[in-house]
């Protein structure tokens, strides 16, 4: 999802008997629902996987500012502008909490960020799609933040303390994001024919990419089984996707939007929706850098980072000068 495909370095999951005493004690604590804290011992693969997952998540928040930021200056009313500004600001804040959580695992935010800019780190595929109309801002809040919540709510229970606490904080804000997105869609659907068409066009383009956010089916994946054993993943990708579809379809119907899936059908027996197959070729293309906006997104991030180098250097230089002045001040006073 925000971390769509996290590799664990595992080729299979060890049983408790196969573990050495330290690792067994660690796994037993996780099994008992205890939280692991930064200073405590943890197996190296657990740490590495967490760094990957949390940093992918952080990068997604930060890149995720761009598609919505694209419409801030064109927001149609002062109130919508304020709400969108506050939302994009929240996403920057989420990025910050998550980088901080990752830093507790002994990596630096700058290093992680350099990896993103160098194209060595992933971020969610969803942010490589363009925002073409105001309705896309509604669709993102409703569908994309909605999908994010689906994933993040379960991660509040994740085994790593700082990650779990970041998720609890983030989830509160995400539900506000989803509501404001749905509110935009509701207004459009109650508006003129042109506005309604705008809303339909947005769901037509954002529906499938939103389902891709959960990642390909991972029931058979060793990475997923390992992540679940470590409780850094609680539900499978397919379970999350199903929950999302079940929650969202009635919301679409309520405001008169058609979900663009001819195979979508209520399954009375399962008490759940059956739905069509995601175009995984498209997903892998986007992941490989060939989505509609991958290059623009990375170029924007790189430009902001490079153009801002003088700023960051200046603040450091000033802090050094101030520290030096402070260090020499007592001598001067004597």
């Amino acid at each position: 999802m925000y971390a769509q495909m996290v590799k664990t370095d595992a080729d299979r999951v060890k049983s408790l008997d196969e573990m050495d005493p330290q690792e067994r004690a660690f796994q037993q604590r996780i099994d008992a629902g205890e939280k692991i804290e930064p200073k405590e011992w943890m197996p190296e693969p657990y740490r590495k996987t967490l760094v990957r997952q949390i940093s992918q998540h952080a990068h997604s928040e930060v890149v995720g500012q761009l598609p919505e930021g694209n419409w801030i200056t064109r927001a149609p009313t002062l109130e919508r502008k304020a709400i969108l500004l506050a939302k994009v600001q929240d996403e920057a804040g989420h990025g910050l909490y998550l980088y901080c959580a990752a830093e507790t695992l002994g990596v630096s935010r700058d290093d992680l960020y350099e990896q993103l800019l160098a194209g060595r780190a992933k971020y969610s595929s969803i942010f490589n799609y363009p925002t073409l109309s105001w309705a896309d801002i509604g669709a993102i809040g409703w569908l994309v933040d909605g999908a994010a919540i689906m994933n993040q709510v379960q991660l509040q229970k994740t085994s790593y303390g700082p990650y779990s606490r970041a998720m609890i904080r983030i989830c509160k804000e995400e539900s506000f994001h989803q509501r404001q997105g749905y509110d935009i869609m509701m207004k459009l659907c109650a508006g003129t024919a042109e506005q309604k068409a705008m809303a339909q066009d947005a769901i037509d383009r954002w529906w499938w990419p939103s389902l891709m956010m959960f990642g390909p089916s991972d029931d058979a994946s060793v990475h997923s089984v390992q992540s679940m054993a470590w409780k850094i993943k609680i539900l499978s990708n397919d379970e999350l996707r199903q929950r999302f579809v079940d929650q969202t379809v009635p919301q679409a119907e309520f405001i008169g939007l058609k979900v663009p899936d001819p195979d979508l059908k209520w399954n009375e027996k399962r008490q759940s929706y059956d739905f069509g197959e995601v175009d995984w070729d498209e997903f892998f293309q986007v992941l490989a850098g060939n989505g509609p906006c991958n290059r623009e997104r990375m170029a924007s991030r790189t430009r902001a980072w490079e153009d801002g180098a003088w700023f960051r250097e200046a603040l450091t230089a000033h802090a050094d000068k101030a520290a030096k002045r402070k260090a020499t001040a007592p001598i001067a006073a004597e």
Partner: protein
């Protein structure tokens, strides 16, 4: 809806539009940075300042609409006037340029804004005094932040020093306008609605001198100041701001969002 023209004539209305338009245009400029600043903390901080200014716009223009008495909302006034109907300072519509230029523009404006609002807390108009009281809390923080950053960047590296000095020289000629009074101001000053703009100058000068000295920057000696015949005259930049900002309201007249 077709474009709205607000007839000049009432000094109170004119004053409210001037305050509202400054917040609106500068808030808009700052929002252009969202997601593109040099560091995540700045994305958050600049969005805060922008949000405050958008909120203040709603208060000033909301009141302006009431005073005008034609049923125009703050949104109507923001989204349906053409450039000639805007009364903001030339300073706030200047392009963002580098992040340093944006921060310098902000500092020069914040210093004016702060001392203006402090006086407006004592306006004879109770509503204005209330808006000022609320706004000054936010703007106190804006000014503190601007002062701090201008000092740190001016007295940072050689590169940052040069960049800030250049920004200062570029923007300086737009600062004089903030202290010029016209006929509307004179009536409003007499009625106790607002302070004499010239009265703000000594405080502004002192703040600017103090800050720039600490920043090791030099105050431009050039006395030249851009003068315009009326507040309706703008630089070329404002038209593009409005083309961006007003697009949806113009393309779908009368729709609600």
């Amino acid at each position: 809806m077709t474009a709205i023209t607000v007839k000049s004539g009432d000094p109170l209305l004119e004053f409210l539009l001037r305050m509202g338009d400054n917040s609106l245009v500068l808030g808009h400029r700052l929002s252009e940075w969202c997601g593109h600043t040099p560091v995540l903390e700045e994305d958050i901080a600049i969005a805060n300042v922008s949000l405050d200014l958008v909120g203040q716009t709603q208060l000033w223009l909301g009141f302006a609409g009431e005073v005008e008495g034609k049923g125009h909302s703050a949104d109507n006034l923001a989204y349906l006037r053409d450039a000639g109907g805007f009364r903001n300072f030339l300073l706030v519509e200047q392009p963002n340029g580098s992040y340093g230029q944006t921060l310098m523009r902000q500092f020069l404006f914040d210093a004016w804004h702060y001392y203006m609002l402090r006086r407006l807390e004592h306006s004879s108009d109770r509503r204005i005094a209330e808006i000022a009281e609320k706004a000054v809390k936010e703007v106190t923080y804006h000014l503190e932040r601007s002062v701090d950053l201008v000092i740190r960047l001016g007295d940072g590296t050689q590169e940052s020093h040069a960049l800030m000095q250049e920004a200062l020289e570029l923007l300086w000629p737009y600062t004089g306008q903030m202290f010029d009074a016209d006929g509307f101001d004179e009536v409003a000053v007499k009625a106790g609605i607002m302070p004499d703009p010239a009265e703000i100058r000594p405080d502004w000068d002192a703040q600017v001198t103090r800050t720039l000295r600490a920043a090791t920057l030099e105050i431009p000696q050039e006395a030249f100041s851009h003068k315009v015949a009326a507040r309706s005259i703008h630089t070329e930049h404002l038209g593009y701001i409005l083309a961006d900002m007003q697009f949806l309201q113009r393309a779908y007249p009368g729709a609600t969002w």
